[in-house]
Subunit: 401 residues, 2 copies
DNA sequence: CTGAAAGCGCTAACAC
DNA sequence: GTGTTAGCGCTTTCAG
């Protein structure tokens, strides 16, 4: 049974909203006179000059209380909604907007709480300065028109792809300061990729976490429990997203920094995984697929490290579906420190990163760069968190893996 | 064991980025000359007038190909990044930005895939017109500064609270067209709430779904299966969010439209629920709490209707935790039509709504209003979808409920 | 097809 | 404490 099966859509009339009367157009008069009162109108009504009227609103200079009240009263009379931001912006050269560019589809990024929590922190620090966030979803590879044309005072770029990131190059060309979250531009000598050149002098800041030491600590803990044979479910390596074992031919220098660093931490702990599955995105279903792939093998590894909690939770689901007990039959760990109530009764062993703080720092970085102040790189610490999904392997076999 | 325990933060130097040389300031010269090339510079370099140079970039008028090439070459020479959007915006009176205002915390809204999918659709339709989305998180009740001051050509307001919504009033005062998603302004006569007056003439559009008939169809189906005793886990009733049985004293006319309408649909199907639990937000954990509350009672209802899928999935978790089989012991249904892979092997019985399409329509509405064209109300259909979480009650007792 | 002129709405340096 | 003045960078008539 279907609730309703047609698209209800009332006919559209072509009538315009009532146009306000405009003064007779003179030569060179732009056709876009809004008809709304301006600061000049208020000034006339209050019997003061425009500059004084401006002061009444901005408070950016000395003004007699009586004068200010007179101006505000006149404004109220005229239903003047306050200074037009467009005029302010042109005059001050500031838009009051910071672009947030996600190197991925909105849909995919936003199904991941990691992006959201970061965005929340970003909104906090920028909001405190009355700076707005312009959402710029960006398909992998191409440069969205908004990056090229929208007004913004700075941009926060999440998950850029290294030296050749065309988005960052476009921003640099426009002179827009860039905050790189979980990204870098490569060594200065590498910055002249085909897509563009980011001059070393371009105002840039970096905010990241110490993920390398995070996975290292995690893996060391698992080794101490007796695990010797590891599987890894990895985040995407780069914009060319795929599911399966990674292409051995890929340039290990390129691709997403977070993925590279978290893998490096595993190596730091002295572990060479028996199997690595790359996923196209940090989503439960991809973790589930990867989990099935790894756990269905004969004699699978005793511990699986997923590079994100969403992936790890997918692996847990896969294990459950295969009738494996977690952590008795297989230990599963994640990364991020998300709250995943639906995994109950299990609680993921993970490496918690300060997501909101990362966003907040990115916001502070943007604010600093806008003010012309350099912002030194920030690397936030992460913390190992024991959950219920890891334990010693059933038979801590000392046979070589 | 802890990966690292201090906040790594390198010392901040106070050096400025190298300031570009500015021409000696003359009287009245604003201090904010960017030093970057302008269209005038390009025009000089190309040996044409500014108006011609403008045409070379906008293509909004006749221009000789040779002239255009000369201008573009000069622009490339000067590393001119294209017309400054701030100038364009003041001149055209358009910011190219639509505000997206969520009547809730960013964090909360964005943990809910419903908001995200809508936002994705919104980005689609606005992006096709090169219009950017300004993200405006809004605490319940107060008017964010960005609503009052940010430049935008229109605003999409999600989940407004009825006639007295201060955010909508503020937008109306500024003359900014408003698209209401899942909201209304009450009857015209009610629009003069204490918080503000939204004149009937103010450009406004509405986009919603046929949720009333959705829950009606759902409940009728359950009744046909033999269910007679229902519990309801409700979305928040209004900005005053709480968990528990609803305040009987609340004005049934106020509060979130979606909640009211979905409840109305249940009544339409001839059902008076034995128990209603209101939740503070559409989140799994609240559904879980509510589920425990309902299912722990003696002789609980045989069917539980949650007004969102996230809430419903929480109820499923609660049932599992209480050792109840779904749907044998209790039927559970949701609303939205989300993909919840982690609920496997269960698939929610639900009412699917076209979320992305809702966002797309909101975007189209905004575009229409910006162009001064009225946009008639849109009510999108919903569709009942049978999952595995509903079935006939174990003993379809015909004793009166 | 190109150039001249006018001004969108505002702020801020400076003179009074 | 207030007014004068000069644009911010751009688009768009309209004349040639």
């Amino acid at each position: 049974m279907v609730a309703s099966s047609v698209w209800v859509r009332w006919p559209r009339r072509q009538t315009q909203f009532p146009a306000r009367p405009t003064r007779p157009p003179t030569r060179g008069d732009p056709p876009v006179s809004t008809g709304r009162p301006t600061l000049a109108d208020v000034a006339v009504a209050a019997g003061v000059s425009v500059s004084t009227a401006s002061l009444a609103f901005s408070g950016a200079g000395p003004i007699a209380a009586a004068t200010r009240d007179r101006v505000l009263a006149a404004a109220a009379d005229l239903a003047y909604p306050g200074p037009n931001p467009l005029g302010q912006q042109l005059r001050t050269g500031r838009s009051g907007i910071v672009g947030a560019i996600f190197g991925d589809r909105l849909r995919r990024s936003f199904r991941d709480p990691v992006s959201i929590q970061m965005l929340d922190g970003l909104a906090q620090s920028l909001g405190a300065h009355d700076i707005g966030i312009l959402l710029i979803p960006s398909e992998a590879g191409d440069v969205p028109p908004l990056v090229a044309h929208a007004a913004m005072d700075a941009a926060v770029v999440v998950l850029c792809n290294g030296p050749d990131d065309a988005v960052v190059a476009a921003l640099a060309r426009r002179g827009i300061p860039v905050v790189l979250v979980e990204g870098d531009l490569g060594a200065p000598t590498e910055r002249d990729g085909p897509a563009g050149r980011v001059p070393a002098s371009h105002p840039t800041a970096r905010v990241g976490i110490d993920d390398r030491r995070g996975t290292e600590a995690l893996v060391r803990t698992l080794r101490a429990l007796g695990h010797e044979r590891f599987g890894v479910v990895a985040l995407p390596f780069g914009h060319d997203r795929r599911l399966g074992e990674p292409d051995p031919a890929r340039d290990p220098r390129s691709g997403y920094l977070a993925t590279r660093r978290r893998l490096a931490g595993i190596a730091d702990a002295g572990v060479v995984p028996e199997i690595v599955i790359e996923t196209p995105a940090s989503l439960v279903e991809h973790g589930r697929s990867a989990g099935h792939e790894i756990l269905s093998r004969p004699d699978p590894p005793t511990a699986i490290i997923a590079l994100s909690d969403l992936l790890a939770s997918g692996v847990v689901l896969a294990a459950r579906e295969l009738g494996l007990r977690v952590p008795e039959d297989v230990s599963i760990a994640g990364f991020d420190g998300l709250d995943l109530p639906w995994l109950a009764p299990d609680v993921l062993t993970t490496v918690r990163q300060p997501l909101a703080e990362k966003g907040r720092q990115a916001g502070e970085a943007a604010i600093a760069l806008i003010a012309g102040v350099p912002f030194p790189p920030v690397i936030l610490p992460v913390q190992y968190e024991q959950g219920t999904t890891t334990a010693a392997p059933r038979a801590a076999s000392h046979s070589n893996g």
